[in-house]
Symmetry: C2
Subunit: 330 residues, 2 copies
């Protein structure tokens, strides 16, 4: 099969299309014909050698999510038939014509979504929902703050907050404020170089909101870490999903104490399979129906042929996208 | 009544014994004759003007916990009788002959404890149990790390961990290792100037324990914050109960992400009364029986007359105590 393999670690140019052996499903696994693969920040880190796939293989193929059809079934598989539309998260290997996955980790494609839409769902909607709702405890009437509102995770988070009756403020780059508002953000402020803390509080006041927010979803870290602790309300939660600004942070821990705040780190891929399955099963029950009901919509910025994966990485590195970048595989 | 009042903010000398008006119980409150009051770090901060009582009164009287007898009942009180032995936490005012408290915030003195023992229970055992078990999720078979093992909270935490089937490592000053072991610490290492991280891991290995710990109870902060994140296991929790080393901390947030760690701040006094009551009711059900069963023992270092409150503060400031310092009021 054709796949994008890493010929080394470095810039986008280390990715090459090669012919490699197709994966073989174990007894509880599906073999999937990948139609579309999502591009994620983690792929860029993996390409640079900074986020290795915990499940090593001879050839390193990036790609954490896919949508396609079931091509073959392991002998114990009971929940799927050949040809079923399927999507999901795996620990790697989706920049390829075929991938294998545990049958209970795979998600049905919600009625009404085509396979390109479907490929834009798993990573960002699972990450945003898990961070805001499961870890952060966001619920109706409360306010979330989402950094990088126009990113894949950001566009998912804006919609999820709205769908559960919460309200959402986002920070984003200067040119993306309108896009965030169009997706449903109640408030969108530029993250930099403006003082977004003051802008956020002014905006909340103008909307008769609370002084601060209940849950922060942050993919940035660095200097934002201390500001996040500043703008989270007593008993609120900061969920750290990424560290685009690097791992080091200097913070006033007194804010953590005085406000009894939780600061929680999370990753999806590093979880043991039973936890990833449990998360996906709950996501299927609680979030997938919202796509069919028209409450959630995948946001696709651009699609690239598999052979142009390097170009997709460059677009993401330039922070030029609003929503998901996809690779069309077949 | 006689009480210790703050004549200003500063060193121990700002505390003076004065005659002040006795407090008057509201309809749901008890008036308590205080026999003994506990001395806490928070009292020192309050004395220095850095931790004001959220419930202001004309004269500022320190003291967050008491044991004594019920002197009078508000008109709606249903759970107590005059003369009942009683103990508990309040937001201030215990360095005095009388104090008032909501009847549901007050705790019965467990059978077998005298009133001096009782005064050594509320703050440190509630704080340690709430931090380790309620917030940290400590359970049987797991390992806790407790900084300042010989402090009031530390001596309580060591015993609580043992009583619920968990194991506990502590850090402490050089001269207090044996005292911590005698209280039941499975492992006690000097916190400074030695590299306690290496000593902790060596000790865990020698006891065939895990590489790292599940829950950290920290009263120090500062440079320990990053070390706490280093020694906590995946999905573990760091509970920040104090910041003796100051509020600023520089940490590697990557550890929070990669290990999916929770870092939670907590205070007792700053909680709204309904939360303090709920915590005390659950504590009464889950922890007080362990005193009667002989599994938990108050640890009293020294007792002082009320008029010697300044001396008690100096002993605590010098970090010279092992366990609680009490004031004998009547």
């Amino acid at each position: 099969m054709r796949a994008v393999v890493l010929t080394g670690y470095g810039g986008p140019e280390v990715m090459d299309v090669a012919d490699v052996a197709a994966p073989v499903p174990g007894p509880d696994e599906l073999l999937v014909d990948v139609h579309h693969a999502g591009v994620n920040r983690a792929d860029l880190l993996q390409r640079m050698g900074r986020y290795p796939n915990p499940e090593r293989s001879a050839q390193e193929i990036p790609g954490l999510e896919y949508a396609g059809t079931v091509a073959a079934l392991g002998e114990r598989v009971s929940g799927w038939r050949e040809g079923d539309p399927v999507m999901g998260i795996v620990t790697g290997g989706c920049y390829a014509e075929q991938v294998v996955t545990h049958e209970r980790l795979a998600l049905p494609v919600p009625p009404g979504l085509d396979l390109a839409d479907a490929a834009a769902v798993p990573e960002v909607f699972i990450t945003a929902w898990d961070a805001l709702v499961v870890l952060g405890g966001l619920s109706s009437g409360r306010w979330a703050l989402v950094h990088a509102g126009a990113s894949g995770v950001g566009t998912a988070a804006i919609q999820i907050a709205g769908a559960i009756g919460a309200r959402v403020a986002v920070t984003c780059s200067a040119g993306k404020v309108d896009a965030c508002r169009a997706l449903g953000a109640d408030l969108a402020v530029e993250r930099s170089p403006a003082d977004w803390v003051a802008a956020l509080r002014d905006g909340l006041a103008a909307l008769a909101g609370p002084d601060d927010v209940d849950v922060v979803l942050d993919v940035v870290g660095g200097e934002e870490a201390d500001r996040n602790l500043a703008v989270v309300r007593p008993k609120g939660c900061v969920v750290q999903v990424g560290l685009l600004a690097g791992p080091a942070a200097t913070v006033n821990v007194g804010q953590l104490l005085a406000k009894r705040v939780r600061w929680v780190g999370t990753v999806l891929r590093g979880r043991p399979i039973e936890e990833r399955i449990a998360t996906c099963r709950r996501f299927a029950e609680e979030v997938l129906p919202l796509f069919t009901a028209g409450r959630l919509h995948p946001v696709i910025d651009r699609r690239f042929p598999l052979a142009a994966a390097a170009e997709a990485h460059r677009v993401m590195e330039a922070n030029a996208n609003i929503g998901k970048l996809l690779l069309d595989v077949t």
